[in-house]
Amino acid sequence: MRDKLKAIAAKQLNVLPDDVELAGGKIRSRSNPDNALPFGRVAATSHWSPVMLPENMAPALSETGIWSPPELEPPTSDDRINTSLTYGFVFDMCGVEIDPKTYSVRVDRYVTMHDAGRILNPTIAEGQIRGAFAQGIAAALYEEFTYNDEGAFLSGTFADYLVPTVSEIPDVEILHYSSPSPFTPLGAKGLAEGNCMSTPACIANAIADALGVEDVTLPATPRRIHALLAGGKP
């Protein structure tokens, strides 16, 4: 990057690249510091004025660097791989009630605990959890791409593809357990869409427990609950 800037500046300062130095926000001639251009102007030349670049130089300034932490080893012989240094952990518990008259599922209490190591921004962490939880409720109880036997798409409008509104999202109690990561400078671990994955499973397990069934297909719509209770096809 520095060499490229020096080459661009040398042409405009009318000096040799070896005579160019970067100092004090300027790019200037070492032998004649008054012969100088602002850093920003030289950098911008590569984008705005490719015609002013030295011959055969490609426009734009970019550099890609790669660092591989030593813990991220290559795949093992049986294709197992560690893909992250920042695994977060989620533990969810919930209690649900199934109304045998309306076949609807109500989440009475939902507790989710996250281990994201040291939490860098508690507000962002809470927002991520609440958003993922809402999407988890959607997957567990509402949203579904439905097709009929002929392959026609049946849930193509928001009247049939039911995105839960704030009224459908139950309260969620959020707990944190902070065990700092030994692998990251601040001890932070990942936290984002965990509840998208944990919440559907947690609710499905609660429904299976309540109804005494082995398998619950999600979303657990009233139609499916009715079929489970009536022992028929949904």
Partner: protein
């Protein structure tokens, strides 16, 4: 999506509307609140060459008490279809002729805010919060919902259970149809192409017990099943929306529940339910079995 192009007309009087309907007939659509019509135009489920906006016609923006006996023109009425009545013996409701007339420009929220609503039409008061959402009720009209005749809609159900009437006007004259005669099937009514629904009339139920219950996926969604009941110590009227093409209504004596416990199964068995994405016909029947006794009991308790 966007609708196909159409002309928009906003007359100031009912007479002008009737003249336009006589001219355009099936090519015209009445626009009141547009909460069902406009989405259907956008989805191109409905076509219209001309939209006639009646929402700002002052003479239609009226809620009034109506008690003229003999106003219903029997000569222009067809006999009530047996299937719509569920085939069960219907106990005529001996309620007086007092009704509340609601004009075609009255929005659902306007009716909700009417000070006499809870006293005179408690069933309508109980059903209105389930009609769409606050925002859609700001524009959606009472008559528009009845004109649209969605089988799961709350207001057509309330009108049917209350044995209400629909007032239709054309250049040829006025006819008044009972709810059961008006709504023929899913989105199908007895309105002729040149007729405007100028008003609907709900029967006043002072001194009677009412109850309303609805099952929907989310609040404000189309009802999977809606159940309404009115009761006195002498009779009960039960109505179910969402089960079949039009509200299914039955009248019976309260002692039926004890002396003829199978009346409900018999009645339910005569109604052909429909399947859709959210519920099978079997589930709809089960919902009726589960909830109708609760709704009837609540109406009776409220009457006592």
């Amino acid at each position: 999506m966007k609708p196909r192009p159409f002309d928009y007309v906003r007359p100031d009087t009912v007479e002008e509307v009737l003249a336009l309907l006589a001219e355009y007939g099936d090519d015209a659509r009445i626009l009141a609140g547009g909460q069902s019509l406009v989405p259907m135009l956008n989805l191109r489920l409905v076509d219209a060459k001309v939209l006639i906006d009646v929402s700002r016609i002052a003479e239609l923006d009226v809620i009034r008490n109506f008690s003229e006996a003999g106003e219903v023109d029997d000569a222009m009425q067809e006999p009530p279809p047996a299937a719509a009545r569920g085939g069960l013996q219907v106990i005529e409701n001996p309620r007086p002729h007092e009704k509340v007339e609601i004009g075609a420009a009255v929005t659902q929220n306007q009716l909700m805010a009417w000070p006499q609503l809870a006293q005179k039409l408690p069933l309508v008061a109980a059903a209105l919060p389930f009609v769409g959402h606050f925002q859609t009720r700001n524009k959606g009209t009472v008559c528009g919902s009845i004109a649209h005749a969605d089988p799961s809609a709350e207001l057509p159900l309330a009108l049917a259970v209350l044995e209400g009437e629909v007032v239709l006007r054309s250049k040829k004259g006025t006819r008044v149809l009972r709810a059961a005669q008006f709504q023929k099937d899913m989105l199908t009514t007895a309105r002729a192409a040149d007729e405007l629904i100028t008003a609907v009339r709900f029967s006043v139920t002072v001194g009677q017990g009412v109850a309303f219950r609805e099952v929907a996926r989310r609040h404000g969604d189309f009802a999977i099943i809606a159940i309404a009941a009115i009761a006195t110590d002498k009779w009960v009227h039960l109505g179910i929306g969402g089960l079949t093409g039009q509200p299914a209504v039955s009248g019976f004596r309260p002692d039926y529940i004890h002396h003829k416990p199978d009346w409900f199964e018999t009645w339910l068995g005569q109604i052909e339910g429909y399947d859709d994405l959210h519920a099978s016909a079997a589930m709809r029947r089960d919902l009726c079995r589960n909830l109708a006794p609760d709704v009837i009991a609540e109406a009776q308790k409220c009457a006592a």
